[in-house]
Point group: C2
Chain length 148, copies 2
């Protein structure tokens, strides 16, 4: 038995990027524009330096349960839940971003890897005491992916 | 104009906790049992020590846009997006957990703060190079919350 859940956008990403293959996400500054209904739910967020943005990815493409991470044939085929690929059963994106400024219903953020118009479904503050695990172990292919 | 998205559970949390006010989450070992359809999407996950589990929180309660974090009157009233409260417009939970073992369709994890039966909508590997920001700034009330 399957029971689905409905989520509504609380806002949208605004930037100049329309191609998911863009390579400058880390430095990119985007705006997250929140629906008027939720403006006061942002109060206090400006005291955090980093946030998680949870998005509804817009370019889910074809769903394969296993694949080469970023289609790189030199990396092993792994399950989608072992990757951060956009092609996943529920196309939810998790983006850790730096908060530069809050202006009323707008958040100015750096490092949001989502194209212009991406719907946002949640925003959570980043709390290093519970979110930062520097000693976490990853497989070798992840190191290869981050080498440049 | 609002456009909703439908997400289906990919699995469920199994543990002995039925009360969201439980206090021993950090040490609690839970099972995440994945739907048969997605078993192979877990392949390779066992090489990561930590994961993000994204859940559909089951006890959303009454939605207030602003509140005292954890109802503690000694902490300031802030917007829900500045908290990790369960009472949020889209009741998505983000849980960083330690992966102890994968047995086929089951993940044995430590530190999952979700009651028995909580639906899971996504699983992502934790990658410290992109997910760990030890220097992130938080407001004083967060430190008070973590004092014990």
């Amino acid at each position: 038995m399957k029971i689905g859940f409905n989520f509504n956008p609380i806002g949208y990403v605004k930037n100049d990027v329309h191609d998911a293959k863009f390579r400058g996400w880390k430095k990119l500054v985007s705006r997250v524009v929140i629906d008027d209904t939720y403006v006061e739910a942002l109060d206090g967020l400006e005291e955090f330096s980093h946030l998680f943005v949870i998005s509804r990815l817009r370019l889910p493409g074809k769903l394969l349960l296993k694949r080469h991470p970023r289609d790189r044939k030199d990396l092993p085929v792994v399950g989608v839940f072992a990757t951060r690929s956009q092609m996943r059963p529920n196309p939810l994106g998790l983006h850790l971003v730096q908060l530069l400024e809050r202006k009323q219903k707008e958040l100015l953020v750096r490092g949001l890897d989502a194209v212009d118009g991406t719907p946002v479904v949640d925003i959570k503050p980043y709390i290093p005491e519970q979110d930062a695990v520097t000693s976490a172990r990853v497989p070798d292919w992840v190191h290869k992916l981050h080498e440049r």
